[in-house]
Symmetry: C2
Subunit: 429 residues, 2 copies
């Protein structure tokens, strides 16, 4: 048997056509639209990457939009055409007919207001060039994330999403039936990535995280993609913040090839303020005494984002030293101010993008931390085993992939950066 | 704030010490063992990558194994030492004490028979150099898979693992409680990756797959990592097989740096037989008439694996053209033999590693295929939308990551290639 691929079997990519001017090639794609310019009929054909104009000579054939075609034609340079080329003298073969008009337009600008409809029709709506291009950004950020983290010798792991205990605090977990026993969906790979620091020292995971949060907001998803990083032998959470800064700087270093549109860069020295400084700033700005708050409200984060932009010309702002009462039991306290922690959030344009920090690493500290919170160490036997048998000072962070893309794009709703979002009401498509 | 990483904050990697001969460096790691050679005491320290001997001058300090240390010392070339260097004149700082002896040895060869114990103690057992090195192979294969598939312009997607319908046939799905409604865990990203071919033409996904199969075998996991690929504008399943061959050839092209141990290569022309040829071979070999079988039993796959090795010197064997009755409804029939399909399995050393094929791509073919199987098209509205609005001939495949590593290693049980396996009885660690 002859094994060949990308030679004779598959059509050319439309994006490559400028390299084939003068040649006769075959492309495969969808009828994006018809266009009539100066008495000439064009068929605009779209593949996964780009569109090309096909010059029609014998009057327009009547293809419904999204009909799937193979078009063989001669590549002609034409500066006025999208992509700088056209296909002439086409021979067209229909691969799949479409029998009905589209329920939404893939030509007109995306109607940002009609999000619910676009999500209902996602298999079609995602084909809109304006929509799908942001998922190429997602793809690009996944690739650059892995490049950045692998260059630093982190090992990729995949840890279980089905877990025995609703572990990280108990609330907001999905329960499932595991052969007649209750089990839960992991809210994060937190425990496993820590355990794996004991094995490899530096690990990362890209995978789904499940949160049964019963609120419908523009920034929450019940299933999202988490970019998780954890490493050992750190000094404190500042080592983790420095890594986080570098990884995001490399991820955002350049947009995907040919990109036009909004982008952001991570400064080499992003501003860092403490949680208490943040409250002082907010108190001064609002006139309201916020100094006893234990967390930042979304409106506070927005204000801090604007402050960072105004005073430091930065889209990013690290806030460190959150109160222990609002952080999980494994968070390392600040030795000098034990009510506060060696933790941080990274705000991107006024919204939490990353959460991270140093974790406890001594077995007895874990026993104590669980006891203080009224949690039962027996529910954490496997996790605690890592600490019984020696763990270094360690920490890590997690980036919410959809949030990153949504903020980059300026989307008002994180669902716009999610292929098939899961929320309180949405289980399909 | 100064952002620095991998400069002053973190200890040196032990693997890098040969580049620092003559320098004084700090490494961080675990007490792997004590060693006494010719009256000299050594401490062997292990980090995530390697081990190094530390020469002790003032008698051995009594560290329990797995105690976590920072060791500052001078790097001395020593050809007889593991890695070719030793640390002399050490200054040792204990980061975490270990108070108890280990319940299993990280020094003696791995006891392959004691798998259940090793899985129970996974947070510790995974630190064994013989065990963890196979998870570096996993990491390597993930990286080379993505390199191979990205080079061919596939776009990475993450699709929902929580789904509304127990879709791909109905059986063997985990059910969960989604805000009071039933929902299910995805057995594969099959429907979504097909939908995404309509958007990008070529997509891939690396993620968990969940199978509620109620049998405990050495080759099944209830949660595993699937490397999924799907592409449009193919000729037939042979285009998919050719891509699969190329991707695996590149994944296996070279082992991780410094690797010693079993490996495999994908031939440039692996043998391909039809399902019916496979039955003929088995019938001739066993004397039993197997020509009316509709699937291959594990023992048959083993025999075929040996046959491929014997007659083609190949660890891999493609079997194509499985009976329609054993393949899912979306499988494209063979137009000449409609009881058979344009599908394939790839056997690796006599075990199914990859399943793939061409899918139906026309809307009416889907309606017909569902009707024939007594399935309700209303359960597939979003999936069918892709076909209503135009899909090219397409197909794809999925590689089971843990199976690949298990076969490569020669493990008798796929759990040996799984960090924290999920099976009928095992929900933790």
């Amino acid at each position: 048997m002859k094994m060949h691929f990308l030679t004779s079997d598959l059509p050319h990519s439309i994006a490559e056509l400028p390299e084939h001017v003068g040649e006769t090639v075959t492309v495969g794609g969808w009828v994006h639209t018809h266009r009539r310019l100066g008495g000439i009929e064009f068929l605009v054909v779209r593949d996964g990457y780009a569109v090309v104009q096909v010059l029609l000579q014998n009057g327009p054939p009547r293809f419904t939009n999204e009909t799937v075609l193979l078009v063989t034609g001669k590549v002609i340079a034409e500066t006025r055409a999208p992509g700088g080329v056209e296909l002439h003298d086409p021979v067209i073969q229909v691969l799949s007919h479409v029998d009905e008009p589209l329920p939404l337009s893939l030509i007109r600008p995306v109607d940002q207001a009609a999000l619910a409809t676009r999500l209902d029709y996602a298999p079609l709506a995602l084909r809109h060039p304006e929509t799908r291009r942001w998922f190429r950004v997602t793809d690009h950020l996944l690739a650059t994330f892995r490049d950045a983290i692998r260059r630093r010798e982190f090992v990729e792991v995949h840890t279980p999403k089905i877990i025995r205990h609703a572990s990280e605090g108990g609330a907001n977990v999905f329960q499932l039936d595991y052969f007649g026993r209750p089990a839960y969906l992991a809210q994060s790979p937190q425990f496993y990535k820590q355990i794996m620091v004991g094995v490899f020292g530096r690990v990362f995971e890209v995978g789904p995280a499940f949160r049964a949060e019963p609120h419908d907001t523009v920034r929450h998803l019940n299933e999202y993609t988490s970019l998780d990083v954890e490493l050992g032998f750190i000094q404190d959470h500042r080592t983790v913040m420095a890594l986080c800064q570098q990884v995001l700087a490399e991820m955002l270093d350049r947009p995907p090839q040919g990109w036009t549109g909004p982008w952001a860069t991570m400064p080499s020295n992003p501003p860092v303020i403490s949680f208490r400084q943040a409250l002082d700033l907010l108190t001064a700005a609002t006139g309201e005494d916020l100094r006893n708050e234990t967390d930042l409200a979304p409106s506070h984060e927005r204000w801090l984002g604007e402050w960072a932009r105004r005073t430091h010309s930065s889209d990013f702002l690290f806030v460190e030293g959150y109160p222990a009462v609002k952080r999980p039991f494994y968070t390392h306290p600040d030795p000098e101010w034990p009510a506060y922690t060696r933790s941080f959030d990274l705000l991107f344009r006024g919204q939490e993008l990353v959460t991270g920090g140093q974790r406890l690493h001594r077995y007895h500290d874990y026993l104590q931390a669980l006891r203080v919170r009224g949690m039962d160490p027996d529910d954490f036997i496997a996790y605690l085993m890592a600490f019984r048998f020696g763990m270094p000072p360690h920490g890590g962070f997690a980036i919410g992939l959809e949030r990153l893309v949504a903020r980059l794009a300026g989307f008002s709703n994180v669902r716009q950066a999610t292929l098939f979002p899961r929320d309180l009401s949405r289980l399909a498509p």
